[in-house]
Symmetry: C2
Amino acid sequence: MELNFKEGGLLPAVVQDATSGQVLMVGYMNPEAVERTRESGLVWFYSRSRAALWQKGETSGNVLRVRELWTDCDQDVVLVKADPAGPTCHTGEVSCFFTPLDVAARSA
Amino acid sequence: MELNFKEGGLLPAVVQDATSGQVLMVGYMNPEAVERTRESGLVWFYSRSRAALWQKGETSGNVLRVRELWTDCDQDVVLVKADPAGPTCHTGEVSCFFTPLDVAARSA
């Protein structure tokens, strides 16, 4: 299965806790980050701000161990089901998604 | 909470089934898509290929009803917890993520 790299050669990668299903973070992968992730079984990303590859948890120790990798029907998003070694967010939160947004209307 | 729109004014939006936790799809939102989603309680995206706003399920009827909206620590990704009215993928699959990718190594 080939991934569909376009628009700067980066794809969003959604990381989900393989056990709880909680969405932990979204990062970006270039082809080399995908390759390193597939070869090492640990999640690698490409940092747009630093223009560099980085292994999640390289410094903090809070690595993400890959259980499953999936792509979508357009092959332009990666879904990683992973076992996190600790909190994923740099703030110390389990997930980077800890900020709710208001919804004005909720359809029944 | 202000979202951090940059790089063309689009943010990735991850849609997760509010009940099962399954990741259903990833789309992109511009400020107006976020606004319409918050106001209507139904998920709207911005199509990059068609350069137009679209309501998910507008044609198929398989709308996504918003239960919760979240953003991440950088405010540059949206997480939607939604109740899907039917299969989310245009192929008829429940989720767009039905294609596995091999992982060569799995760390213990």
